[in-house]
């Protein structure tokens, strides 16, 4: 029970948080001039989170003003901080600041960086001397700081390693709360790590084509016979856009297409969204209206399940009998209640022209497609063709800049 107390405190404790954080900000460097805007923002958030109107001296944040935002500079700054004086004053504030700017440096998935930050903590100082200190979370500010760091790792899916356990042991001792947090993480995170039925490569490739392939492959897992083709519009003479098309279609779908009535139109629908980790892919479907008669017939086939007098014995060449299929067809996974999906695709430009090229290219394997009318039915505006976009001069260089200003 006692052990749980700090946890309760932590969960219920906006108060606790504010307590730890209401230390005056301390200036790390002497460069006041730059980045006034950022400081102001920081201050504003801090004030709103603490709810106190007391104005505090602004902290000088080395991470915000770094020119070159790379892992190396990040680590160098941590190193500078560690070597500056023996007392390492304000290391908690430093770690919080460092945590906050990780994304700007693109190091939020890097275990080494987290370790470097933990290493900032002095070793042996924060080890509780007795059981009461341990259970009542002595050195709350420091412990909470590292717990927050671990929390951030967890949120970013960074799994700690055994070296980190040794570091935490050196800093907070056997009974330290960060170490408990670490142990819980090491229990759960490996179990969750590979739980996804559609594992993605790590790291996820940055190329849109590769991501589109991943997306289409993932959607095509409903039918194991599906084939993913990467088509190039340049194969067609009159294509306007020169781009790629990732198309997924299975032999089952080809068969459905062959059986589709030529009087009934097919629709290209979309764009729909699919998220591959933090990247969004637009995709389109080639869909026909549901074959109502067929589906109704399936419902009507009210078979008497208790009747065992009509068992069929197949001779060679016949499929093994199925209960619902003594005569007639089975419903395929592509025949949904709201429509029959014939194929899916993602194109490089997501334009009408590229979709048109897609249909043309599909016609090669499915000549019947040439005789069926195909209509567009879009959920949002889709450009007719790709336009050359010239970058305006005012566009911010990096997405992180926009993020930080809106903080």
């Amino acid at each position: 029970m006692i052990r749980k107390l700090p946890c309760i405190l932590r969960f219920h404790g906006a108060a606790a948080q504010t307590l730890y954080r209401q230390q005056p900000n301390i200036i790390l460097t002497r460069n006041y001039a730059a980045d006034a805007k950022d400081n102001r923002n920081n201050e504003k958030t801090r004030q709103s989170s603490t709810g106190s109107s007391k104005s505090l001296p602004a902290a000088r944040n080395p991470f915000a003003i770094a020119q070159e935002k790379t892992k190396n500079t990040y680590l160098t700054m941590v190193e500078i901080f560690m070597e500056r004086d023996i007392h390492r004053r304000n290391h908690v504030e430093f770690i919080y600041a460092a945590l906050k700017h990780m994304a700007d440096f693109g190091v939020e998935h890097d275990l080494e960086v987290y370790k470097a930050l933990i290493n900032v903590m002095p070793k042996g100082k924060f080890i509780p001397k007795n059981i009461f200190q341990a259970e009542f979370m002595h050195y709350p500010k420091q412990q909470q700081c590292i717990i927050d760091l671990l929390e951030q790792m967890e949120d970013n899916g960074v799994m700690p390693d055994y070296e980190m356990e040794a570091m935490l042991l050196n800093v907070f001792g056997q009974r330290g709360h960060p170490l408990r947090k670490y142990w819980r993480m090491m229990y759960w995170m490996p179990k969750f790590k590979n739980l996804s039925p559609w594992p993605l490569p790590d790291p996820v490739p940055d190329d849109t084509l590769e991501i589109a392939k991943l997306a289409v492959e993932r959607m095509c897992t409903v039918d194991l016979r599906s084939k993913i083709d990467v088509l190039e519009t340049s194969e067609l003479k009159d294509a306007l856009d020169d781009t790629w098309i990732v198309s997924g279609m299975s032999p089952e779908q080809s068969k459905l297409l062959r059986e589709h009535s030529k009087q009934k139109a097919l629709y290209i629908e979309g764009p729909f969204n699919m998220w591959i980790r933090n990247r969004r892919i637009n995709y389109f479907t080639l869909r026909a209206d549901a074959d109502v008669d067929f589906l109704a017939q399936l419902d009507e086939r009210q078979l008497d399940e208790d009747d065992v007098t009509k068992i069929d014995v197949p001779f060679f060449g016949r499929a093994p009998p199925r209960r619902h299929n003594q005569l007639g067809k089975l419903r395929s996974v592509h025949q949904q209640d709201d429509g029959t999906i014939m194929a899916i695709c993602a194109t490089g430009t997501s334009t009408k022209d590229s979709l048109l090229s897609w249909i043309r290219l599909l016609e090669r394997g499915n000549p019947v497609l040439g005789e069926i009318p195909v209509l567009f039915r879009f959920l949002s505006a889709v450009p007719a063709k790709a336009e050359e976009i010239e970058a305006p001069s005012s566009v911010p260089a990096k997405a992180s800049d926009i993020n930080s200003s809106s903080n």
Partner: protein, 629 residues
């Protein structure tokens, strides 16, 4: 022996008299009415007239509903005594010919002189006119050379089909040539890549104007006689009934195609694993024009005739398996007698002895099943032996392969050394298993046929059991009954039809049949007509049924042998007891698995795993030494 084999005895009596043209009345006071009738109706001046009794209820199909025909425990004696003597005389040269290792090439040339092509062709068409049992017996010698046997058996299947289903015109046209060996019959049924939706890739269309059929397509694994022999292919092709468009009108028809017809082309030769001396090839048909007389039976009704076709080919190919197994056993026995290893003779090792006896028991069961089935075919007119023949083949092929692989354990790496007789045996066994219908198809066929029969008879009970709240009486009756699958109640009806030594075996059979019946009842009650989708359970059912038939046939044969005092009959009794004991344990295990259901018998786990296996396209676990962090 207290066998109730009176009708049979009478029949045999009349046959022998018939043969010697001295038909006299039997002055038996308590003779069976049926036998009397058949005897009275028998024309005295026709010595070769078929003397078939009226068909009995199907034997194994009735096992599925727990009914046993104890009369059929009398092993059939369908070849009359004198004919038997003649047959054995004619077989003597054949046996001598095939017993020494003849090369298959040489054998091919001698087959015509040995008059082996016309064994089952009626005497009217210059054949030997043997019935099922006799022709099987007569083809035993040639099966010593598996490749030759394989080719001859498929020839015989075509002859069987012509005799049973062919018109007189067709018989006159083909049978004499088939009997003399000028024409070599061959089945062309299976295809290399079966089509996704249709029954067969080979399709025939009817040309109304010319009233001809046009055949197109390709067949594979067709046994082809070496040399330039003319061939008669028995082709199963898909046809579409003209008045029924769509899938409802799709049927298949059986055609006889001469290899010298225009458009027939022999394709590439399969380089197969076993039976290499007999070439197997693809056969292409390009717009082959077929007259209407070249069709066997009615158009689009091939499935109806398929029953006769598979029955014949199953029985005849079982014979090959039996011969091969016998050879393997003989070779292994000589090896274990002649070899001393580490100061001990192999024959004295307990493991070897157990293996040898197990092989012996299997072969005994196969042989008994084959001749019991053939005997029933000969003895009763129009007897339904679909299931019996399927079981015979299923059991034979499974056990032949087992025996062939057991030799690997006894002989070690030598058994796979090329040129060793056992190596060839193993390859031939593997080839035979895959030839024609595969064991898994057969097992499904066995279970489905049995369920079909049982479903018609048990429907009322199944309906009640599946709706317990509407039929409380039925359910209470079930609760109160003391019959259980572990300890079924039996009535001891079989004991009096077997020699008293086999009383325990008779009980084994009765227990097993009762268990099969209960298992079928359970499956129907659990799944209703979805039972056809439970293939793993059906396979268990097929194994149960084949074990029971093996027990039945072995016990029947051993009882007969002992009663008439054949050589080593006491060991036959021992064999039959062993078969029955082993069969009962196997049946109990399988029936309990069905009784326990899919959560207890591991089926559920396996089916769930299969999902992931297909999703990952094969083996999915990562390497055992993989780190996760």
């Amino acid at each position: 022996m207290r066998c109730k084999l009176l009708p049979r005895a009478l029949k045999l009596l009349t046959q022998t008299r018939c043969a010697s043209n001295k038909a006299t009345r039997v002055s038996s006071s308590n003779s069976n009415v049926k036998a009397h009738q058949s005897e009275n109706q028998m024309p005295e001046e026709a010595p070769t007239a078929e003397q078939q009794l009226t068909a009995r209820e199907p034997l194994v199909k009735n096992f599925f509903v727990g009914v046993m025909d104890k009369e059929l425990l009398g092993f059939p004696e369908v070849i009359p005594r004198e004919e038997m003597a003649n047959l054995q005389n004619t077989l003597l040269p054949l046996k001598n010919y095939f017993v020494e290792q003849v090369s298959p090439k040489q054998a091919w040339n001698d087959l015509k002189q040995l008059r082996l092509f016309g064994l089952n062709v009626p005497t009217d068409y210059e054949g030997s006119g043997y019935n099922w049992s006799a022709s099987l017996m007569a083809s035993e010698p040639e099966c010593n050379v598996t490749s030759v046997g394989l080719a001859l058996q498929t020839h015989r299947v075509v002859v069987d089909m012509l005799c049973e289903l062919g018109t007189v015109e067709q018989q006159q046209r083909y049978l004499p040539a088939l009997a003399s060996g000028q024409l070599m019959g061959t089945e062309a049924i299976f295809e290399y890549t079966p089509p996704e939706e249709d029954i067969f890739g080979a399709q025939a269309t009817y040309d109304m104007a010319a009233s001809r059929w046009v055949l197109n397509g390709e067949k594979a694994f067709v046994v082809v006689a070496p040399g330039e022999a003319r061939q008669l292919f028995l082709v199963l092709a898909q046809t579409q009934a003209a008045n029924l468009p769509g899938p409802a009108g799709v049927g298949c028809s059986i055609f006889l195609v001469d290899s010298q017809q225009k458009g027939v082309r022999l394709g590439e030769e399969h380089s197969s694993f076993g039976c290499r001396e007999v070439p197997m090839r693809r056969v292409h048909f390009d717009n082959v024009q077929l007259e209407e007389q070249q069709m066997i039976g009615l158009a689009h009704n091939g499935n109806k005739y398929a029953e006769q076709l598979v029955r014949s080919s199953r029985l005849r190919s079982s014979l090959l398996g039996i011969s091969l197994s016998k050879q393997l056993l003989n070779q292994l026995t000589s090896f274990s007698i002649d070899t001393r290893q580490g100061g001990a003779q192999i024959q004295d090792l307990e493991l070897t002895r157990v293996h040898l006896s197990q092989m012996m028991c299997s072969i005994y069961a196969m042989e008994s099943m084959l001749y019991l089935t053939a005997g029933m075919l000969d003895e009763f007119a129009g007897q339904d032996v679909t299931l019996e023949s399927a079981i015979t083949k299923y059991y034979t092929m499974r056990e032949t392969y087992n025996i062939a692989t057991l030799s690997m354990g006894i002989l070690g790496p030598k058994s796979l050394h090329s040129g060793q007789p056992l190596e060839q045996g193993l390859r031939d066994a593997a080839q035979l298993v895959t030839q024609g219908e595969s064991p898994s198809t057969l097992s499904l066929f066995i279970a489905l046929s049995g369920l079909q029969h049982a479903g018609q008879l048990m429907n009322a009970g199944v309906r009640k059991a599946r709706n317990p709240l509407f039929n409380p009486g039925h359910i209470f009756g079930k609760f109160l009954s003391t019959d259980s699958i572990e300890q079924p109640k039996i009535r001891g009806i079989l004991t009096e039809n077997l020699h008293p030594t086999l009383e325990a075996s008779a009980q084994c059979i009765e227990h097993s049949v009762a268990r099969l019946h209960m298992a079928v009842d359970l499956m129907f009650t659990r799944h209703g007509n979805a039972v056809v989708e439970k293939q793993h359970e059906m396979q268990r059912l097929a194994n149960i049924a084949s074990n029971i038939y093996a027990m039945w046939a072995s016990a029947a044969r051993a009882s007969r042998s002992y009663c008439i005092g054949l050589p080593l009959a006491d060991h036959e009794l021992l064999t039959a007891s062993a078969v029955c004991n082993q069969g009962r344990d196997e049946v109990t295990r399988l029936a309990m698995e069905i009784y326990n259901g899919n959560y207890m018998n591991n089926d559920n786990n396996l089916l769930r795993l299969a999902n992931q296996v297909t999703k990952s396209r094969g083996y999915f676990p990562v390497h055992p030494l993989t780190f996760n962090f």
